[in-house]
């Protein structure tokens, strides 16, 4: 996973329309969230966060126990659990099932987990039509782009971009009114829902004591995806587990408020097993695919393990001053923003993603709004020291390390520090503005070292 080239970041920074789109969308989400968690509206907000963090910690530290409990409850309600180590195993399972059932059409609701494993591409290679049904994801699928934001995937597109995508892919006359664009998508996708053989959803939570999955949405496409077709496959990372159905009171009170400022999403679905005797509609077959794909790696470090608590609300993205400048496509993986910055190096290697933990001013706005209290800046700092260690092991980054060693030596030898500083104040102006100093200087008027340090002024003051 290479670093996003500087030129791409510069381009994003210079695109004023895109900057405005990112800025205003995230501002709106921030404002709505703030209103929804204000003390007048939700006095228990901080308690809920503390409790959510404790529940996630407990579950993650007993993940094997709760997985097994979840599995036996899914089976008890007529469903099946499929454990998958990798994205390939997920695709193999879906393809195998589709073949057995002679299924050709799949409807999918929004799931970052399936983006992570590029499921659609794998399915399409085998002539299966897998249609994204969330409006934003549908548009992106037609445009062959990846999501810009966890919650608002098409944040970067205008109605004119959408019009072009529809005209090119649906062969219709150009339509630029969003209400009409939505009607077009609704009509097209409705046909798909009613004809599909398989519905694939994600899951926000896996409930161990019930063998149930929970997913939230505002459009209704996830409900349709699991209610219309005869087969429902839910795909979720193993970290989505929570112990009890009653714990949903804590998580659901936090999730939608943190994401969009709604008290609850329009649709919250609690689904378990196949349709029961007497139920008129609903799937005849229910599968929960539990994906590892590297999550077990993140368990190993007790300090960074908390990265798995994430409930994918997107609040950290909205509040991050860096995300708000560079947007979702400048992150190397499908997960962007602060959460992306901490999990990407853990999944894909610290050496390959060395720049990412440093692309932060450590302002802490993310940690302040995280509903499950992940200490993102703390994890970033830990990752930074792992990056420098990895560079040492690789034999790179020698100059920087030497620089900090020299700096640390100076800072532990006050006499030398003061001498060096006084020389610096006389000669710093002559330093060529090359390399990193040059780039730093490009953005600002460089401050000068004071002619007399405080040390010196203090001495003078004492003598008076």
């Amino acid at each position: 996973m290479a670093a996003i080239p500087e030129s791409q970041i510069k381009q994003t920074l210079g695109d004023s329309r895109l900057q405005l789109a990112i800025y205003s969308s995230t501002q709106r989400l921030m404002d709505h969230r703030a209103a929804a968690v204000a003390p007048e509206r939700l006095p228990e907000y901080q308690d809920l966060r503390t409790r959510a963090n404790a529940l996630k910690r407990h579950t993650i530290e007993n993940l094997d126990y709760y997985l097994e409990q979840f599995e036996s409850n899914v089976v008890a309600h007529g469903g099946k659990v499929v454990y998958c180590r990798t994205g390939d195993e997920v695709a193999d399972f879906v393809l195998g099932l589709a073949k057995e059932r002679a299924a050709r059409l799949i409807v999918k609701s929004k799931s970052m987990t399936t983006e992570e494993i590029h499921l659609n591409e794998r399915l399409e290679r085998h002539q299966l039509e897998a249609v994204e049904t969330d409006l934003g994801e549908y548009i992106l699928q037609l445009a062959h782009q990846r999501p810009y934001h966890i919650v608002a995937p098409a944040l970067h597109m205008t109605r004119y971009d959408v019009a072009d995508v529809f005209t090119e892919n649906l062969g219709i006359a150009k339509e630029v009114v969003p209400e009409n664009q939505t009607k077009i998508a609704r009509a097209t996708l409705r046909e798909k829902f009613l004809q599909a053989h398989i519905g694939i959803t994600g899951a926000n939570f896996l409930v161990a004591d019930s063998g149930a999955i929970v997913f939230v949405e505002n459009e209704g496409n996830a409900r349709l995806s699991h209610s219309a077709p005869k087969i429902h496959i839910a795909i979720a990372g193993i970290e989505k587990l929570i112990p009890r159905a009653q714990d949903l009171a804590v998580f659901l009170n936090l999730l939608a408020r943190s994401a969009t400022g709604q008290a609850l999403s329009v649709y919250t679905s609690f689904v378990s097993g196949t349709r029961r005797a007497g139920e008129i509609d609903g799937p005849d077959e229910f599968y929960v695919v539990l994906l590892d794909n590297g999550r077990t790696k993140l368990l190993r470090d007790p300090e960074k393990r908390q990265s798995l608590y994430c409930i994918r609300c997107g609040a950290c993205l909205n509040h991050c001053p860096v995300y708000r400048k560079i947007g979702g496509h400048n992150y190397p993986w499908v997960y962007s923003g602060p959460i992306g910055a901490i999990i990407t190096p853990q999944f894909h290697g610290v050496a390959e993603n060395g720049w990412l933990p440093f692309a932060s001013s450590l302002c802490g706005a993310c940690a302040e709004v995280c509903p499950v209290k992940i200490e993102i800046p703390r994890v970033l700092l830990k990752l930074r020291s792992e990056v420098t260690e990895a560079r040492r092991a690789q034999g790179t980054g020698g100059w920087e390390r030497l620089g900090f060693r020299a700096w640390a030596w100076l800072m532990t030898h006050p006499g030398a520090y003061l001498l060096f500083a006084s020389l610096g104040s006389k000669f710093a102006g002559l330093m060529p503005k090359i390399g990193p100093l040059g780039k730093w200087a490009s953005q600002r008027e460089v401050p000068r070292l004071a002619p007399k340090s405080f040390h010196t002024l203090w001495e003078e003051r004492k003598r008076r």
Binding site: L13, S360, S361, L362, G364, R384, L410, K439, W458
Partner: protein, 240 residues
Amino acid sequence: MARVSLFVTCIVDQIFPQVGIAMTDVLERLGFEIDFPPGQTCCGQPAFNSGYPEEARWVAGHFLDVFRDSEYIVVPSGSCTSMIAHHYEEIFEGDAKRLEEAQRMAPRVWEFSRFLLEVARVEDVGARFDGVVTYHDSCHALRELRIKDGPRRLLANVRGLELREMDMAEQCCGFGGTFSVKFPDISGAMARTKIESIRKTEAATVVSIDSSCLMQLQGAMQRAGLPIRTLHLAEVLASR
């Protein structure tokens, strides 16, 4: 008369010594005896934030030695105070002796405005500063030390001063230490957004309790041709 040790921080020592002078003036006027351990250099944050915890440990250890006997350590910086009071525990994990020293040190370290309000117990230092001022909440101070109202209360008691809030007071200025060196374009863009918010207040001065933020904002405003001054809270409070 209580004795107070100054930790001016490396940036104030070398770039903004007038902030140290201002802090000294204010504290002396309040009747404190000031001491300045001359062996002081830095808290170690630059190394820690750059992923060099070992080098940070050396420097932090030096800090603990220099200030070993100080009862009150007053610091004109939220980020340095937070480094010492909150992060030294992380740095010295595994070194029982230093860890214990750091834990004993933590409650003795005071960010300047908090020292005035909670130890000196004053909200009015008798300052005078004519003009419109806006206040920038530096990130570590705001989120790690929970400093928000304190400086504003102190500014409210400055004669002649009108405090006008900017709409993005809590947004990061984009400095982030090594962040501004490694990602200068993003850092610069963040600064420009912030100074636009400052400009809209029509204040003549922007005030903060962190000199690193002020340096970032000053650089960006000068580059943008904005004639807005940056002052540390101590400089405003020392003003007569």
